[in-house]
């Protein structure tokens, strides 16, 4: 990977609860280079969204960032406070949220919200801000942007609203955009359009994306690299094509095996047995061990980060060695017999 614009090092985010501290993000590290798209994949509750929020310092009590660094162009932004943090947000690093119905204020015109976003960082006239907002809308493929600026959010479709949100995120040409499941709430056809648009924008503007999602199909068509998260930790990293072709971590293999498109109609869909563990009740050692088909006696101890020759890593005692798709079919039979 070329030099990283965003480098997250050993990030830890905790939530204070009655039963004690929960480690929602437990020592997460990754890097994203200029113009690259990183897919951060995991099930609900794996800590992937909290990771996104933590990077921008949007964690609110009872949550807190307990440790680690978020280096944006070499500068640690977890230590920033107040106005310093405000000046980084939106200008150098921006975020797009999951539900486009909720992220725009329903009682303010699109134009009002975009002009405020422009003027949060640049002292320009309303007229100039309006023009920049219009150009930003045009850039994300919104037809007749002047009219859209005069519209309220409810007058736009979900896909349009998400494009507006992406346009807002792009306003100040940030180095990085964190996108938290931005296409989950959209139709598949709209999702496809937006993914293509994002790929183009990353290539054209050099903006790096961290694309948080549970959807492996999205990641496989969009991301350059993948990080798979489970119970607050990154369990596997690598180039997107490699990880999808031959997962090294049993959890990734299980996720891939349960993608419906990979199977014949009528065939029983393999599942990862069990469900995501509660963060307050994690097993010692590898958190995935109770659901894992390869689990062995060593799994009660913290797994090592195994590094592979092609730059990939897996947090596992018994990573899948084969490069072919062989383990996939064997995993699915195993699950079938287990269920």
């Amino acid at each position: 990977m070329s030099e990283a614009v965003l480098s997250v090092q050993d990030l830890r985010t905790q939530f204070k609860t009655r039963t004690g501290m929960l480690n929602a993000v437990d020592g997460v590290s990754f890097e994203v280079g200029r113009g690259r798209i990183l897919g951060l994949v995991g099930e609900s509750g794996s800590g992937k969204s909290v990771t996104g929020y933590s990077i921008l310092g949007l964690i609110e009590p009872p949550g807190l960032i307990a440790g680690g660094e978020v280096l944006l162009n070499g500068r640690d932004i977890t230590r920033l406070k107040g106005d310093e943090l405000r000046r980084v947000r939106g200008a150098q690093i921006a975020m797009v949220f999951q539900d486009p119905m909720m992220t725009l204020n329903p009682v303010l015109k699109i134009g009002t919200q975009m002009i405020a976003a422009v003027r949060a960082h640049d002292r320009v006239s309303r007229r100039t801000a309006w023009e920049r907002a219009r150009d930003a809308l045009a850039k994300v493929g919104i037809p007749s942007p002047e009219e859209r600026l005069d519209a309220y959010p409810h007058q736009l479709s979900g896909g349009m609203r998400q494009r507006v949100a992406i346009a807002i995120a792009l306003l100040h040409r940030p180095a990085v955009i964190i996108a938290d499941e931005p296409t989950t709430a959209l139709d598949v056809s709209i999702q496809g359009q937006i993914l293509a648009e994002v790929r183009r924008l990353a290539d054209e503007t050099g903006t790096a994306f961290v694309w948080v999602t549970h959807d492996l199909a999205v990641v496989s068509s969009l991301a350059d690299d993948i990080c798979v998260m489970y119970a607050g930790r990154i369990v596997e990293t690598g180039a997107a094509a490699d990880v999808i072709a031959s997962p090294r971590h049993p959890y990734t293999a299980g996720l891939l095996a349960s993608v419906p498109a990979e199977h014949e109609p009528g065939e029983r869909l393999p599942q990862v047995p069990g469900s995501t563990p509660s963060l307050s009740d994690l097993p010692p050692g590898c958190a995935f061990a109770p659901r894992c088909f390869k689990a062995g006696p060593a799994c009660t101890t913290t797994p090592p980060i195994q590094k592979f020759e092609d730059g990939r890593t897996a947090l596992c005692h018994y990573p899948i060695e084969s490069n072919s798709c062989q383990p996939l079919s064997s995993t699915s039979t195993t699950y079938r017999s287990a269920s």
Binding site: L58, M102, V107, A117, H154, A165
Partner: protein
Amino acid sequence: MIGFLIQRILQALLVIVAMSVIVFLGVYAIGNPIDVMIDPASDQALREALIHRYGLDLPLIQQYFVFMNNMLHGDLGESFIYRLPVLSLIFSRFPATLELALCAMLIATCLGIPLGLWAGYKPDALSSKAIMAFSVLGFSVPTFWVGLLLIMTFAVELGWLPSGGRGPTANVLGMNLSVTSLEGLSYIILPALNLALFKLGLLIRLTRAGTVEVMSSDYVRFARAQGLSEGKVVGLHVLKNISIPIVTVFGLELGSTLAFAVVTETVFNWPGMGKLIIDSITVLDRPVMVAYLILVVFLFVLINLAVDLIYGQLDPRIRVKASS
């Protein structure tokens, strides 16, 4: 927009007609005004003459239609007691109540919204908890008692402010107002504060509840992710979103303050409409009661119409529904 307005005005007319029936029947049921008006010792002939003169011998439905007919011609009758046209009687008292109510609403709004915003913005701060405790006091302590307390403290003990009455008034736009002079203001401060206290508590709680809800919304998080300053987040995103419940309550409270400032007006001997209606009820001055209640209905309908129109300005989604 015009369709919406016409629809609302028709609704308002319907409400006024329905209320006039209820008020008329209700007042009719509470007793014969003739018994109050004349000496019980007077003879039957005089009694009948009087009953005939006021149309009280007609069937009830006919009395109602006479009354409605007169009302449509702007004549709400004449007070049995004051021997004055009811409308001019009420309107002579109206400015006093209007300025008192407006002052109270001004105090409640100017203090309540900022305090509520703060309490909602920093819900865990000690100051916020103090504000909330105060707001509970505000609407749970009886108005008359607070009024007496205010008089005891500021008029009797400290001697800073007058204890009651209205003070000098000046004629502004045909209305006698006391807020135009400093001395007049000194008379209105205590009753206005007294009247404002309940609304202040209400507005604080309402504003706080709305603020807490909006602060945790995705669009506030998104606004922060854009690097908007906290001032902008509150001033642009929060204030506009919480204004709908606030405008609703403001309208209702303005109406009820204008109509029923009775307790405060009594405690502070403020010569407003509240005192007029209480006096009229005591002596069964029927035309005043009926006219007053109908005017109150009219006032509420008018305020609600204004509130509805403001809604459309505040929330574009309501505008769409109304026009479709």
